[in-house]
């Protein structure tokens, strides 16, 4: 665990830079996190992030397919928003835990 200054305040993050507490999130935090990936957040990005936060809070398992069926963006579009590893990166920017499998 480490502390990091994001969105103008100090927040706790994991060794890989994921927020440890969802409640520390704000759009400013997201936009600071996005800089690491050279992503400039648009309305579309934020819609995806809010969708992920909502589903995470409801205890649902998140998948790329689920985002693709959300009506916000299709899977190709999701890759364009978060190139490289869309679910991994969007989860980090949404302030929710890194997606994991059972082991």
């Amino acid at each position: 665990m480490a502390e990091k200054v994001l969105g103008g305040k100090s927040v706790e993050v994991t060794d890989e830079g994921y927020l440890t507490n969802m409640a520390d999130w704000s759009e400013e935090v997201a936009s600071d996190l996005a800089k690491e990936y050279e992503i400039v957040l648009t309305e579309k990005h934020l819609e995806v992030l809010n969708f992920l936060r909502e589903k995470q809070a409801a205890g649902e398992t998140l998948t790329i397919r689920k985002v693709g069926k959300s009506g916000i963006v299709d899977i190709k579009g999701l890759y364009q928003l978060f190139p490289g590893g869309p679910l991994k990166i969007s989860s980090k920017l949404a302030g929710i835990p890194k997606p994991t499998s059972c082991v």
Binding site: T61, C102, V103
Partner: protein, 411 residues
């Protein structure tokens, strides 16, 4: 006369039928179980078929061997559940009414969901090992295969038995080593996740094994389609992986009947309270095993542990108490690593697989996250336990809720 209806006579449904029939008076309670298939498959055994360790006969028995006397068995496809009316329609037009419904219709593979998967290479050079047909076809193919690029790819999460694809590549490494052609076989493991192991401690303990065995891992690869002409797997961001033989975990979804009944989420899994195992939509509907959307592994061990909790909660309701039993997501899996060795993991909703030992009176202790021979024997022994104890709903010397006994807490 009150009625309990169980949909699905697989691992979960069969266990519940056995537990409930033993506990409830036959004069007061009518129990019916419905399944369209008459054969029960020992699904953990499918993994061993491609390598000739098991054959078809080792993994099949008639379902009727495991249903208890005093339970009505209906072999029929289900049209849909009409939850508002407390009834289930079968495809032949027959109607079954219930006071309590248990949905245990599992998860299925849907290769049709991935373009190019169920195409001209299907069961020629592309195989799954999640069906008896796929694993038998792959066994036949491997018998004369002389080597090349073997790709093991996962299309989507969640899928049944999350460690099976890892076990598959470990067993393939051992199989081709024993055949003397390992140097001609290039093994690649392709996953949409950030790695083959994603939980920190398991990753630390087990990732070395993949390197040791010379297995390539391609993480963050989300499959869009399969190119049958050029024999390659193509991702949404236009990466490509060529293969000579592709083994695949197709998209897993709940039964189409769940969709027809309007009871599923976007993957046809039934939204279920993860602690009580009751449907979120209806008070008299419960969900057991892979059919639910609870955030734990889709695996027989989970269905087994959950069955004990669901049984307690049903008895609580039937006897007028509140649902006091709470499921913790307990899962317990052996990971075959090849050459007669295996590792064991034990975890739940909140606790990731840890190091330590797993106490099992009479046989264990088994080393957790350690690659040992005793863990392999545990897995081999499990098939006997499955047929003779587990399906019949008898007690195993394992607690349904995870215990921290023997585990090392790590920070």
């Amino acid at each position: 006369m009150k009625r309990i209806l169980i949909l699905g006579g697989g691992t979960a449904g069969t266990m519940m039928a056995n537990k409930l029939r033993k506990a409830l008076d036959r004069d007061d309670w009518d129990i019916t179980i419905v399944d369209q298939h008459k054969t029960h498959y020992y699904q953990p055994g499918f993994l061993f078929i491609p390598f000739g360790i098991y054959n078809r006969d080792d993994v099949v028995k008639p379902k009727s061997d495991f249903f208890p006397a005093g339970v009505n068995v209906v072999y029929s496809e289900i049209d849909k559940i009409e939850a508002e009316e407390n009834k289930v329609l079968l495809v032949d037009g027959k109607v079954l009414h219930y006071d309590y419904l248990i949905i245990a219709t599992g998860t299925k593979t849907f290769p049709e969901e991935t373009p190019g998967l169920k195409d001209k290479l299907w069961y020629r050079e592309i195989f799954d090992f999640y069906t008896i047909e796929g694993s038998v076809a792959l066994q036949k193919y491997f018998k004369s295969w002389e080597g090349g690029k073997l790709v093991m790819a996962i299309t989507e999460l969640p899928y049944k038995c999350p460690v099976a694809p890892i076990e598959f590549v470990f067993l393939a490494d051992a199989f081709f080593t024993e055949r003397g052609i390992r140097d001609k076989v290039d093994i690649t493991y392709v996953t949409p996740m950030p790695g083959a192991f994603t939980k920190p401690i398991a990753s630390k303990m087990l990732s070395e094994l993949l390197k040791e065995k010379n297995i390539n891992v391609v993480p963050d690869f989300y499959i869009e389609r399969i190119d049958n002409e050029e024999k390659k797997v193509v991702s949404y961001d236009e990466q490509e992986i060529p293969f000579n033989v592709l083994t695949i975990v197709p998209v897993n979804m709940g039964d189409e009947m769940i969709e027809r009944s309007g009871l599923g989420d976007d993957m046809n899994f039934v939204p279920t309270d993860k602690e009580t195992l009751r449907s979120q939509a209806y008070e008299n509907i419960f969900v057991l095993g892979d059919a639910s959307n609870i955030p734990t592994s889709k695996a027989g061990s989970v269905a087994h542990f959950a069955a004990e909790i669901l049984f307690e909660n049903l008895m609580n309701i039937i006897e007028g108490r509140s649902m006091m039993a709470k499921f913790d997501g307990h899962a317990n899996c052996y990971i075959e690593t090849g050459h007669g060795k295996g590792a064991l993991i034990d975890f739940n909703y909140d606790t990731e697989p840890l190091l330590g030992t797993f106490p099992l009176p009479g046989i264990g202790p088994f080393g957790l996250l350690k690659n040992t021979k005793i863990n392999h024997y545990g897995k081999v022994l499990f098939r006997w336990i499955y047929w003779h104890i587990l399906l019949k709903g008898k007690e195993l010397p394992v607690e349904p809720l995870m215990t921290m006994a023997g585990k090392k807490k790590m920070n």
